[in-house]
Structure formats: structure tokens, C-alpha cells
């Protein structure tokens, strides 16, 4: 709380005056006086320097650091508009207002086009304070906006760089880890093959654990490489008929489909502008999961797509074991698994790759499911390429 004494000292009447350093380009002392009076009458605490030519103007810019330039249009030895060029050359963002005698509309518009902030007629100086205030406010806001844009660009830069670093790191790490691991895997395997039963029971067990661990790590690294490659590889776009993609996936998964007598059906799917390999990967992972996480009955998998505004919504519906809603987000995180490896094999990379691919296209992916009641995985792909242009024309 402030003390009463302070309140007493404070002048009760006056609004706080706006401090203003002005630079006047004016040959008439009387006119300069009128200009300054107009400002001072309106709560500006002005400190002004008055100049008449370029040399004086340049000097005053250095010594006075003006916040605003008020320039007469016509001067005996100089032109007011020349002041703009000086400001520009020195890369100074100081608003300049022309204060002039009769100035034709055409000339006035031309001056503003060239960069003058505004103009005020000498017989209408009552307008000047408001014009100055607006010029200062605009400049302030321009500065804020500029700063915000700069901050944002910097953040985006940093983010892009750190993302690229991370991709690079994942790639290099996994690539360089493969070499020594290959040796561990090969030699533990060789040990187990060659010395099985020749040492004691524990030795066989230990070698087996080491060998399994090395092989599992190889698979993890392989998956990590595949995951980081999604971000690194240049997608090659073309028109991709999703019906063909699905047919291809069905052939790849043929033995898994036959094994559990699954039905994989789809409605007529659209052709989209995308990378064929990546689309195949998405469908293969989703359908592969639907086969893997099947319930007691034979899997029935249904793929469908419909247009919603400027995007396609694809859905892959199954009658499998489903996912409790609290895990619906987790499953898209790399290496996240809900089940023991012994129950369902896999490393938890498939959905993470799907998510990364879909996000690359500006889409999103999610699951709608209840435990025990099947799942529907949905993802969106914005209309892109020639198709989007067609859409826009319609």
C-alpha cells in the first residue's frame, strides 16, 4: 500500500505529460513555434531541434535521437521529403510527418506513397497532436509485431535445428551401434552353438540370455532406424490409388490373413497425392496390428474412407481385443507396448511410424475403441496436390 504522504505530493491535476524528442525541418522560426505550441498545448513535453538542411538534419539525428520528424515540404535549401532518404540510408525507423502550407492532394498522396507517415496542413495544426500520437503508437505496435515475428522465426529455427539434430543423432547412433552389436550377436550365437552342453547348465542359460538380448537389440535398432528414416527420407509424391495399396498389403500379409482365416474388406478408396511406400507402410501396420491383436473370433477388418471438408478420413475397423481408452494416446509413442512380449510379439514401432507418416502429411491419427470391443483406427490426410487444386476450382 502506498503512503498517504506520497499521494499528497503528487500533483492532482495534470495528466502525465508525454516526453517527446522532435526534430523539425523548418526554415520559419514562427512556424516552428506554432508547431511546438500545438504539441505542448496537448500534453506533449517536447524537446525540439530545428534544422533547415541535410547537414543539420544528419547531425541532429546523431545528437538528438528524435522520436519523430516534422518536416516542412518546401525549404529554401532543401526538400522536406529528402529527410526520408536520409532516414532510410541510416536504416532508422522514425515516423516523419509533413507539416506544410497548401499541399495538393496529388502531392500529399505521392509523399505518403514514398514513405511519409502522414501530413498536416499548417493552418490545421490542431490535428497535429493526434497525428503524432498515432504515428508513435503505430511505430510502437510495428516494433512489437516485428519483435514477435523475429522471436517466432527464431523459435521455429531452433526447433527445426533441434529436430534435425535429433534425427541425425538417432540415425548415427543406431547405425554405429549396429557394428559392435553384430559382433556380440554373432559370437554369442557361435558360443551357444559350439559349446552347448559342453559347459554346465548355467553357462548354456547365460549364453542364451546374452544371445537373445543381442538379437532383440538388433531388432530394436533396426526399428529405430526405420522410424528415423521416415523423417529423413524425401517423400516422392504421386497419385496413389489406395485400392491398389490395400491389394498390395493384402498380398504381403497373405499368410497371416490365411492363418487366422481373416476377412479384409474395403469400400472404394480414393486416389490420393502421397508417397506410395509410406501409404503402404501405414495400411500394412494398421492391418497387421488388427490381425495380431485379434479376439477369439476370426478377424474381420474393414477399411473405409470418406471426405470431410478439405481432408480424407480413413478408418481401419476390426473386431479384435480393443484398447482401453486410457491407453489410446500411449500406443502411438515409439516403443510403447501394452502387452508382454510373450503375449504379442513386436517392438511397439508400427503405430509410431504410422503417426509420423500421417503427421508429415499434416494429418492426424487416433483410435476409437473399448477394451474387448474391437478398435477403429482413424487417420486424416489433407487433400493435396492436383486433387486439392481440382477441389478448389469446384
Amino acid at each position: 500500500m502506498s503512503s498517504p504522504a506520497t499521494q499528497l505530493v503528487k500533483p492532482a491535476s495534470a495528466e502525465p505529460k508525454t516526453q517527446l524528442r522532435a526534430l523539425l525541418v523548418e526554415d520559419s522560426e514562427a512556424d516552428a513555434e506554432l508547431v511546438l505550441r500545438a504539441l505542448r498545448k496537448n500534453d506533449f513535453d517536447v524537446s525540439a531541434v530545428i534544422v533547415q538542411d541535410e547537414a543539420g538534419f544528419a547531425r541532429a539525428l546523431r545528437t538528438h535521437c528524435p522520436e519523430i520528424v516534422l518536416a516542412d515540404y518546401n525549404l529554401p535549401d532543401w526538400k522536406g521529403m529528402e529527410a526520408l532518404n536520409v532516414l532510410r540510408r541510416q536504416d532508422l525507423d522514425i515516423p516523419m510527418i509533413l507539416v506544410s502550407g497548401a499541399l495538393g492532394d496529388v502531392t500529399a498522396v505521392e509523399c505518403i506513397k514514398q514513405g511519409a507517415t502522414d501530413y498536416v496542413l499548417k493552418d490545421g495544426l490542431a490535428r497535429l497532436p493526434e497525428v503524432v500520437r498515432r504515428a508513435l503508437r503505430d511505430k510502437y505496435e510495428r516494433g512489437l509485431r516485428h519483435q514477435a515475428e523475429k522471436d517466432l522465426a527464431k523459435k521455429a529455427d531452433e526447433l527445426a535445428r533441434s529436430n534435425a539434430d535429433l534425427e541425425q543423432f538417432a540415425y548415427v547412433a543406431s547405425h554405429d551401434l549396429q557394428e559392435p552389436l553384430r559382433m556380440v550377436a554373432a559370437y554369442t550365437q557361435l558360443l551357444s552353438e559350439r559349446y552347448k552342453g559342453k559347459l554346465d547348465e548355467n553357462a548354456d542359460k547365460f549364453i542364451g540370455y546374452a544371445s537373445e538380448g543381442a538379437i532383440r537389440m538388433q531388432v530394436l535398432i533396426h526399428d529405430l532406424l526405420a522410424f528415423s528414416r521416415v523423417g529423413r527420407a524425401e517423400a516422392s509424391y504421386s497419385t496413389v490409388d489406395c485400392n491398389e495399396v490395400l491389394e498390395e498389403v493384402r498380398q504381403t500379409l497373405a499368410s497371416a490373413i490365411a492363418e487366422c482365416a481373416a476377412i479384409v474388406a474395403h469400400t472404394d478408396l480414393p486416389a490420393i497425392w502421397a508417397d506410395r511406400t509410406q501409404m503402404t507402410q501405414v495400411f500394412q501396420n494398421l492391418i497387421g496390428n488388427a490381425l495380431k491383436f485379434r479376439g477369439k473370433e476370426a478377424p474381420e477388418i474393414f477399411v473405409h474412407a470418406e471426405k470431410a471438408g478439405q481432408q480424407w478420413v480413413f478408418s481401419v475397423k476390426d473386431n479384435g481385443i480393443g484398447i482401453a481408452p486410457e491407453f489410446a494416446e500411449n500406443i502411438f509413442v515409439v516403443f510403447q507396448r501394452l502387452h508382454a512380449r510373450t503375449e504379442y510379439p513386436g517392438n511397439g514401432i508400427g503405430l509410431a511410424i504410422c503417426k509420423k507418416i500421417v503427421q508429415r502429411y499434416g494429418g492426424r491419427i487416433w483410435v476409437e475403441s473399448q477394451a474387448g470391443r474391437g478398435s477403429t483406427f482413424k487417420f486424416t490426410l489433407p487433400l493435396q496436390g492436383p486433387q486439392a487444386k481440382e477441389e478448389a476450382h469446384q
Partner: protein, 145 residues
Amino acid sequence: MKSMHDLLIVDDNPADIALAREALIACAYKGQVNSVGDGAEALAYLCRRGNYADAVKPDLVLLDLNLPKRDGLAVLAAMKANPELRRIPVVIFSTSQLSTDISRSYELGANCYVSKPGNLTEFFSMMKSIEEFWFGSVSLPPRGE
């Protein structure tokens, strides 16, 4: 004394060389296996310079790409530019699966490119097919020319 076949393995990883030897024993390879650990050594061996004055010119070279001093591609280029060495078949044996490495190898005259498998069983069966093909099916250039 010349043995039935002479194979030169160029690899900087002794564990890899030992593994290749094991695999060759497993497929009953009867020839000689020699090995060097970097590209400069490989060229010294092939040109019988320095310590390798008595080296036997190999019938086949198993060449890793990622090597210290002079990498595998440099060794390959030097071999294929040398009339004395040009006819020796070179099998590139590398973990790299980069398409640039593969096509560069063939451009420089590699006789084939084989990716080192990560798993022991595959590694052994790969060595077996190399052995069977190059020392069984293929007619190698006549020796002593």
C-alpha cells in the same frame, strides 16, 4: 607352395575376420586365408611391397569398404587400374547398404557386392555361397599369369 585357393580378406575388424574364418571352416573350404587390416596394407600385400614381398597373389579378395587409411573403394579403384591386379575378382563385403556405396563399387569394377548379414546363421550361409560360387562354380583366371 601354392595351396588350392588363396583368399585375401581385407577388414579392420579382427572379430569379423575370425568369423569369416570360422564360416569358411564350417563350409570345408580347403584353401588358404590371409587377412590385412587396412587399405594401405591391402595394396602393399597385393603389390608385394615391404613385409609382403613373399605374399601369394590371391585368387579372390573379400573387401570391406569402411577401412582405415585407404578405404575399400580406393583399394578397389587402385586394383582395377593396375594391369597386374585387375583380373583378381573382388567381392565387396560390407555392412553398408547405401545405394551410393553399391553403385560406386560396381562403377569401379567390383565383381559383386554382398551385404554382411547381422545374424550368425545368415553370415555362415552367405560365406558358404560365396565359397561355393567363387571356388566351385566359377572358372577363376589362370594362375601364374
